[in-house]
Amino acid sequence: MAKFHFENIDIKAIVTTIGNKKIKIEDEAENFGYDEKMVNRLKKRMGFNSRYVVKKGVCTSDLCFQSAKKIFEKFDKSKVEALIFVSQTPDYKAPSTAIILQDRLGLSKDIIAYDINLGCSGFIGGLINAYSLINSGLNSVLLCVGDVASNFSYCKDKNLTPLMGDAGSAILIEKGSNRADFVMHSDGSGYKHLIIPDGGCRNPFSEDSLKEVEEDGSVRRRVDMYMNGAEIFNFAVKVVPELINEVLEFSKTNKEEIDYFVLHQANKYILQTIAKKLKVEDKLPMETISIYGNQNSASIPGTINAFLNEDFSNKKLKVLFAGFGIGLSWGAGVVDIDKIYAPKIQEYKE
């Protein structure tokens, strides 16, 4: 198991920007062929209610740009020595979006900038990278995470599309005085359960890529994300409780010492099942999905900025983060937080 222990590193700021178009499940039920009874089941079981998406053409980097600008109203951007962009929706297939953001944000040319392709585990993967760079001698790292899932979820895909929200977060990590412990796992044998089949080297884009295909009651194209919901659910409820116990043990922390369990907001049913297994229902926020949708790698910072912003701004906390999903990939961290800059979640301004 990949385990990471860090000392004297702080998360200084977390800011999240969401798409500015709110869609309620009732408004799009017809597109998916959902009747009133089904809408009510989805609300009750899965926590579906509303979601925020971007208008066509807005990229993840635009949301992260707005988040980062807000951070640099308070913090000195000339100190930043690395920019990491974690996303499945880059601006271009090449070059790295992180490098484009270096210029847009007016950061020094003397920085390292690169993209990481991770989804729902991306906040943890991104933090491990950022902390490792600080451990190697850098002073300040800007981590950007998120996705505009509306870009890859097809309008007629009733399994995936009503679940997804668009968000981009920026996180500032600097030398400091706090500790953090992380663990990470990867299992490529499950790669087919969440996949965009066409457009890469394995299946290059072709005329067939845009043909609508009906599969398990949903319609999508081969350039869109496919999700096998039952396999992902089964994976999540099995590995996440083990993952959380593992990171608690590695960091020598009792679960009673944890102030908040901030998990990737996959759907309400997954979170309820995990919270029940671990008996931590009162410390595990799970409302993000119902209001904002599943925000991929931005769902952990998104939950902080939406629901925990006051405690993160004003208190010393011990928090447990856990992300899990596409890859398959899953990871968790126990992180000490000491009164950081965490303003309320903001909508994208055009």
């Binding site: 079981r45 899965m46 009651g217 039952a230 659910f233 089964n234 409820v237 049913y269």
Partner: protein, 74 residues
């Protein structure tokens, strides 16, 4: 648990008002869909039966769901 108890719990898990018996065809139950499968994965887990999503493919009748529970149902 007894077969009758299993059938009652099953109706609750699937969230259906149809009275279930062994011969009920699964495709007669409106609520037996992808959400119900997730609930069933949890239900079997709580019973102590390890199931995979693919175990639910090609099941026809409620009796198949009883069989899946193995010796947990008398």
């Amino acid at each position: 648990m007894t077969k009758q108890e299993f059938l009652e719990e099953l109706a609750e898990v699937i969230d259906t008002e149809i009275e279930l018996n062994e011969d009920t065809n699964l495709d007669e139950i409106d609520e037996y869909d992808s959400i119900a499968i997730l609930s069933l994965i949890n239900f079997y887990d709580e019973l102590g039966v390890k199931v995979k999503p693919s175990d639910f493919e090609n099941l026809k009748k409620v009796s198949d769901l009883i069989k899946l529970a193995g010796d947990k149902v008398e």
